[in-house]
Symmetry: D2
Subunit: 273 residues, 4 copies
C-alpha cells in the first residue's frame, strides 16, 4: 500500500505498520490500481487530481478511484470525466459516522458511480464501514450526503427550538422529549442525539457539547447544500435559514463544539433575559 498526506506524522504512523510513503499523489497513482482519497474541500480535491504531480498525471487505465471527500457534486462530476479520459473510474464515496465509527469500522459510505463497479467498491469500503449504499451515477453519493446533512441541520435546530420553547412554557425537558419521541415530531435529533443536557446520556449535550460532529463541519455541509440548491434552482427556505444560523454560531465561538450546541446558544439567551 502506498500512502500520501501533507501531514508527515499521519504518513509515518501508517508506514510504521508496513505501508510505503509516496512523495506526491502522482507517485501513489503510478503504484496503485485502487486509490482512496479523502480531502477537506472541493479545491483540495481539484488540486490533488489535476496538479502537475496529481493523481491524473500518472493514473493507469482500469484504476478504480474512491473519493471519500464531502464536496460539491459538480466537482465530483468534473473529476470523474477527467478520470474517464484516462481510462480510470472515479466514484464519489462520502462517509458519515465520525471518529468512533472510523475506529470501529462501522462507517456509512454513500457511493455514486457506475453500477457494475459498485461490487468492487463495496468490497474495499466494507473494510472500513458496515453500511455501503449505492446511490446512483457519479456525484449522487455527494448528493445523498448533502441532502441528509441539510435535513439533519434543520431537525437539530428545530428540536432545539421546540425543547427551549417547551421549557419556557413550563414543560420538563425529559417529559417533553418523551412526548416528541412518541409523536409526529419524532426524529434522530430528538430520540438519539437530543441537544438538551440531561435528556440522554452519552451524547455530546450531556458532555458540554464535546466530541461529536463539529459545528464548523455542519456549517460547511450546509454551505454545500446552498451551492447545490442555487445551481439547480431548488428552493430551500429552511436549509438556507439553518445555514445562516450555523454561520452565526460558528463565528460566536461555537465552531469547535458539537453541532447540537445550537440548543446551548438558545439556552444562554434565556439566562441573560
Amino acid at each position: 500500500m502506498t500512502v500520501f498526506d501533507i501531514v508527515k506524522s499521519s504518513v509515518d504512523s501508517v508506514v510504521a505498520e508496513g505501508a510505503q510513503a509516496a512523495s506526491c499523489p502522482a507517485e501513489v497513482a503510478s503504484n496503485s490500481d485502487r486509490i482512496i482519497t479523502m480531502l477537506p474541500s472541493s479545491p483540495h480535491v481539484k488540486n490533488c487530481f489535476t496538479a502537475d504531480d496529481g493523481i491524473l498525471s500518472t493514473v493507469q487505465p482500469g484504476t478504480l478511484i474512491l473519493d471519500s471527500s464531502t464536496i460539491d457534486p459538480m466537482m465530483s462530476k468534473s473529476v470523474s470525466e477527467l478520470a474517464q479520459a484516462k481510462g480510470a473510474v472515479y466514484m464519489d464515496a462520502p462517509v458519515s459516522g465520525g471518529i468512533m465509527a472510523a475506529k470501529g469500522a462501522t462507517l456509512t459510505f454513500m457511493v455514486g458511480g457506475p453500477e457494475d463497479k459498485f461490487p468492487e467498491a463495496k468490497e474495499i469500503l466494507s473494510l472500513m464501514g458496515k453500511n455501503v449504499v449505492h446511490c446512483g451515477d457519479v456525484s449522487t453519493g455527494q448528493a445523498a450526503k448533502i441532502c441528509n446533512n441539510m435535513l439533519l441541520g434543520i431537525t437539530m435546530i428545530g428540536v432545539s427550538e421546540a425543547m427551549n420553547l417547551g421549557k419556557r412554557l413550563g414543560l420538563d425537558p425529559k417529559q417533553l422529549a418523551h412526548i416528541l419521541n412518541t409523536s409526529s415530531g419524532r426524529c434522530w435529533s430528538s430520540d438519539t442525539y437530543n441537544p438538551c443536557p440531561g435528556v440522554l446520556e452519552n451524547v455530546p449535550s450531556s458532555n458540554n457539547y464535546q466530541g461529536g460532529f463539529q459545528t464548523a463541519l455542519m456549517t460547511k455541509d450546509l454551505g454545500l447544500a446552498q451551492d447545490a440548491a442555487t445551481a439547480t434552482q431548488s428552493p430551500n427556505p429552511l436549509g438556507s435559514a439553518a445555514h445562516q444560523m450555523y454561520r452565526v454560531l460558528c463565528n460566536h465561538g461555537y465552531d469547535k463544539l458539537d453541532f447540537s450546541s445550537v440548543y446551548k446558544f438558545l439556552q444562554e439567551q434565556e439566562k441573560k433575559n
Copy 2:
C-alpha cells in the same frame, strides 16, 4: 349525557343515540359534573366559558372540565383560574391523531393540570384515545402540542426540501428516502409520512394530498407557536420561517390539502423552470 354544538346536525346525531340536547353551554354545565369541550380557537373558548350563557355561569363546585381545544396556553391558564374561583377544575387536553384515530379511539391526549386529578381525566379520555399523557401543570398540554407541531412543521418542510433537492441532483426518491431513514436525517415526516408521491403507500402524498392534516390547521398551530415564542421571548428562527412558508401555501390554494403538500409546492416550481 348533555350535549351542545352550534351545528344542530352534530347535536342531532348524538341525540339519536341517546344524549340530551342543551340550548347553551350553561345548560350543559348545570347538568354535568364532568365536561368536555373542543373548540377551534382561543376566542371561541373564551366565549364558551365566560359568556352570559357560558359554562362558568352555572358550573358546579367539584366539576372536572377537560378542554380538548388547541389554543394559546395563556388562555388555558386564564380559564383555569376562573374555573378555580367557582370550585371547578379545568384541565387542558389537546388531542392529536386526526379523523381516523378519532373513529378508532386511538387519539393521543396531552393533558395539563393538577396531578391528583389526572387519573380521573385519564379514565375519561381513554375512552377516546390510547395514549393519554400528563404533561404538567395547566396549559402544559397546549405547550406540548404546540412544541410537537412546530417541530413537525419544520421537519416536513425540511424533508420536502431535501427530497426535492436530491431529486434535482439525480437521486431516485425511494432510494433517497431509504438513505435518510437509515441515517441521521431520519424523522416521522420522512419514514412514516413521506411527502414525495410514490415513496410510501397509504399516505396523503400518494393520494393527491387528500385527507390527513390540513395545511390551514398546521398554519394555525405554527401561529400559536409564534405567539407563545414572542410572549416568552424564545428565539425560533426555523419555527417562524416554517410559519411564513405555510402562510404562503395556505393562501395559494393549498389550505385544504394535507400539510405534506409543501413538497408539491416545491415540485411544481421544478416543472415551471
Copy 3:
C-alpha cells in the same frame, strides 16, 4: 395639569414646575378633559384604563384621550370602544424620534381616530412634535408605526449584511456606502444612520452604538408586527426573520445598544474567523 406616574421622582420633577400630583389614573381623569398617556406595553395600557382606579372609572363625557404608547392595534381598538361607552374619545398617537427629539419638541406623532377630532389632537401634540400625521381610524396610528419600524428593522439588517459582505469582498466601507446611497439600495439606514463605524459622524455606530434606539425596543416593535401579521394572516417572511435576528442580539448582550449594532454582531464574527 394633573400628573401620575409609578416612578415618584418623575412626578416630583413636573410638580416642581407647577403640576398637581394625582394618586392614581382615576384621579387624573376626574380632573381633566384632555388626557395624554404613554405606557410601555399593551397590558400596562389595559390596566391603566380598566383597573378599579383606572382612567375609565372616572373619565368625563367629552374628554379627549391621546395614548402615545406603542402597543398592539387590537388593544387600541378595544380601549377606544370602552372610552366611547363613557362618552369619551380615545385616539392612538404613538411617537417616534427618541430622547433628543422629545427635548427639542421635534417628535413625530402618528394619530388614529375620528377625523373631526384630529385638529384638537394636533393642537396638543404640536407642543411636543413638529410632525403630526392623521393616519385614519383608531388604531391606524399604531399600524403606521409598526409598519415603519418593521421596515426599519429589515433595512437596518439589510444594510449591515451588505456593508459586511462588501467589506469582505474588498470594498472600502465609505466608498460602498456612497455607491449604495446613489443607487437603488439607498435607504435611511444607509444614508442617515449607517451602521458601519466611521462611515457617518454623529450616529451611534461611530459612538460604540451608545444612544439612539435600543435593540430591546426594536425587538419589542418587531414582536408587535409579528402579532399583527399573525392576527391578520399577512405573510411577512423578512419581518419575522428580522424579529428572530434581533431576538438573538437582544439576548446576547446587545439589548441596551443602539439597534444598528447588528452590524457589530456580524462584524465580530469576522474577527473570530
Copy 4:
C-alpha cells in the same frame, strides 16, 4: 469597431451602422486594443475568454478589456489574472439602469481594476453611462453591484410586507407610503419604485408589473450574493431569505414580471383568504 454576438441579428444591426463583424471573440481581440464584453453568467464569461477561439487566444499586450457582465467576483479575478499573463488589463464594469438608461446613455458603471487605468475606462464608459464609479481593485465592481442588488431585493420585499400589512390593518396605501417616505423606513423601493399599484405613476407596479427589472434577474443576482457570502463566510440571514422568496416567485410564474411583483404575490394571498 469589430463586433461579435451569437445572435446574428444583433450583429447585423450594428454592422448596418458601420461596424465590422467578427466570426468569434478571438477575431475581435486580434483587431482591437479596447474590448467591451457583456455576457449573462460566469460560465459564459469563462468560455468567451478561455475557449480556443476566445479573447485570450489572440489578445494584444496593452489591451484594455472592460467586462460589463454581472458575475461571480471570483471569476472576474480569475480572468483578470489570465489577461495579465498576456500583458492585457481586465477590469470588471457591471452596469445598472435597465433598457431605458441604456438607450439614453444614462447607465451606472461600477468599475474594479487598477486605479491608473480608470481614467481610460471612464472615458469609454461615459459614452454609455452618466455615472462611472471606481470601486477598487479588480472584482470590486462586481462586489458593489452584488451588495447593492442584495440590499435592493431585501428592501423591496420589506416594503411589500409593510405595505401589505398596513393595508390589512386599515391604512390607505398612499397615506402609508407618505408616512414611510418621511420616516426612518424611507428607501428607494418605497419612494421611487413603490410596489403597491396606484401609489406612484410611471413605475411597473402601476403597469401590471411590466417592464423594469425582471424577477428572474433579481433572483440570479441574489444567487451571486449567496455564493459570495458562502465563499467569504459572511452571515446574511435576510439576503438568503430574500433569495429564497424570489426563487419561489420566479418559479410560480413571476419570472418575467418586474421584481416589485413580490407585492402582488402577497396581495393575491389576501384575496384567496
